[in-house]
């Protein structure tokens, strides 16, 4: 009897243990969401390869957040009793992560494709703007600030194009915007400046026609200074005899407004004095009657309008003189010729010879076409 009990005492715990192990092995355990999590991870990985992190940022980060949440819930469930685990939330978040990652992938592909096309167009358009700037204004005096902006803009287009070729659309887009901000206002400014300047063309033409007619009528010499073409044109009997290149004041675009503005005036003048080499520091000089009555009236009106300060003074001593050929607009408003050309001019003109200074002999359309 005693042995029977002994057997019972030994066998019972073993039987209980085996039953327990059997229970542990065969009792249904909730299946972990391995497939769903793997699918979500793969989807996110594919989205990352499609550059969704850059081109569909919000959707991609939503996907990542859902995935992280799924992981947190999974780890939390792992801490629970194996038979009491519930992976429902993990599955939901993994599903959402995969869905958002796929959306991010598609969105990124669409965005990169549309960005590729759009940026290509924008680069093309900017290159056209730059080509127009070069064509129209490469020889037009623009401030060094505008010139620097154009130059910087051109370089940015090249940089943007290199980024675009590498598929770095965000970088390319930033550079395109920067280039646009430099080139477009430069173009608008230069175009407006030139158009505004050429609004005076009818006046210039009228002055030029009068001067040529006067030469024909008096059978004498008349001079026209074409500032845009940088030419002094000498007429005799209404016909062009010869022309010389000239250099002007630094701010030659527009009329002279006040003393010291380094602008060359526009209007109909006459030679009032002739200076030989011993009376001028500019080799030889022909003094003009600037300011004439019209210039003085305009200057006074500008003071009264308040567009010039009361302290402003009207300019004077505008001459056609020698010492030219420096290659830049260096005078304080005078017209500079090379010494040998000054010699030729000096021989044929006299006091009273008409000198008409105009912006251009040609209209804007013609100038742009040239």
């Amino acid at each position: 009897m005693h042995r029977v009990w002994k057997h019972i005492l030994v066998i019972t715990p073993i039987a209980i243990f085996i039953a327990a192990v059997g229970f542990l092995i065969f009792y249904p355990v909730p299946e972990p969401p391995v497939g769903e999590m793997e699918f979500a991870r793969t989807s996110i990985s594919l989205a990352a390869k499609d550059n969704a992190g850059t081109y569909s940022e919000s959707l991609f980060y939503e996907a990542r957040n859902y995935y992280d949440s799924a992981m947190v819930y999974w780890q939390k469930e792992n801490g629970n009793n194996i038979y009491k685990r519930n992976y429902e939330k993990v599955r939901i978040f993994a599903g959402l992560a995969a869905k958002k990652a796929n959306e991010a992938s598609d969105d990124s592909e669409n965005n990169t494709s549309s960005m590729n096309a759009r940026l290509s167009q924008e680069i093309k358009a900017l290159k056209e703007t730059d080509a127009s700037l070069t064509r129209r204004f490469s020889k037009y005096p623009l401030s060094s600030e505008i010139r620097n902006n154009i130059s910087r803009g051109e370089l940015l287009i090249t940089e943007a194009e290199l980024d675009w070729e590498k598929g770095q659309y965000m970088k390319a887009e930033r550079k395109i915007k920067e280039a646009e901000q430099l080139l477009v206002p430069s173009y608008v400014y230069a175009d407006a400046n030139m158009r505004s300047y050429f609004r005076s063309y009818p006046q210039w033409k009228s002055w030029a026609d009068t001067t040529i007619a006067e030469s024909r009528l008096n059978q004498d010499y008349s001079i026209i200074v074409d500032k845009y073409s940088r030419k002094v044109i000498v007429y005799l009997n209404g016909e062009v005899q010869f022309s010389y290149s000239v250099e002007l004041g630094k701010n030659w675009v527009g009329d002279k407004r006040l003393r010291g503005d380094k602008a060359t005036p526009e209007g109909m003048y006459k030679i009032t004095r002739m200076f030989k080499s011993d009376s001028t520091k500019y080799y030889k000089a022909l003094l003009l009657d600037y300011p004439n009555d019209e210039d003085t009236a305009m200057f006074v009106a500008a003071i009264e309008r308040g567009s010039l300060p009361r302290s402003a003074k009207i300019g004077g001593m505008i001459e056609i003189h020698g010492n030219g050929g420096k290659g830049s607009d260096w005078t304080a408003g005078c017209i500079a010729l090379k010494d040998r050309e000054m010699d030729s001019l000096f021989k044929i003109v006299k006091i009273g010879t008409p000198v008409t200074i105009i912006g251009s002999m040609y209209d804007l359309k013609h100038v742009l076409k040239r």
């Binding site: 002994k6 030994v10 715990p13 991870r41 990352a48 005096p141 623009l142 290199l162 073409s229 290659g327």
Partner: protein
């Protein structure tokens, strides 16, 4: 009888061992994460973005596998440890590859930078020789502006290069190089037309 008791205890011990022997390979996990961090420090994300992304993806897959094992009654991290070792080796390889790639980019940038400096110096030397006829001043002003921009860009690129941002420097240098080259051609064309020796 004694043997049976011992067998029973052995069985219990075996189950206990099986249930608890799989300890999380924290040392290996930390080592692999450190290797990936080293790859990032080596700027693999900049110079070898695809390889670096693959590395990160491998680690994500391993984290998944670890969580799977974590949830099991009988934990066995053997596969995980093997995967961690592979990824660590891969990360070390990526570090080496990134260094090679970075060096290639550095050399390319360095060569271009030296070349562009020569062109810039030549342009500066040729500029005063340009003929100064009609409208020449505006053209010279435009060229001067271009040269100034190239100078500024080269300085900017040199700054990026000195900081070790070779990839960013390279793009700037390439753009500046193109510009400096076109200025050089423009100046030489004008000089040739004007029959000025240079």
């Amino acid at each position: 009888m004694k043997n049976k008791i011992l067998m029973g205890l052995a069985a219990i011990a075996m189950v206990a061992v099986l249930a608890s022997c799989g300890k999380k390979p924290q040392v290996e996990i930390d080592a692999t994460n450190a290797a990936i961090a080293a790859a990032q420090t080596a700027e693999a994300n900049v110079y070898l973005p695809a390889e670096f992304a693959a590395l990160q993806d491998s680690m994500n897959a391993i984290n998944n596998a670890i969580t799977v094992v974590d949830g099991k009654l009988f934990k066995n991290y053997k596969d995980v440890v093997a995967k961690l070792a592979t990824t660590k080796t891969l990360a070390e390889q990526v570090v080496a590859n990134a260094a090679v790639k970075k060096d290639e980019i550095k050399k390319e940038a360095e060569t271009l930078l030296t070349g562009i400096k020569t062109v810039v110096a030549e342009n500066a030397k040729l500029l005063p020789k340009l003929p100064r006829g009609k409208e020449g001043a505006a053209v010279i002003e435009a060229i001067k502006a271009d040269l100034g921009t190239v100078d500024a860009t080269v300085a900017e690129a040199q700054g990026l290069f000195d900081k070790g941002a070779y990839m960013d420097a390279l793009n700037k240098i390439k753009a500046a190089n193109e510009k400096a080259g076109s200025i050089n051609t423009e100046i030489k064309d004008v000089l040739k037309k004007a029959r000025i020796r240079f």
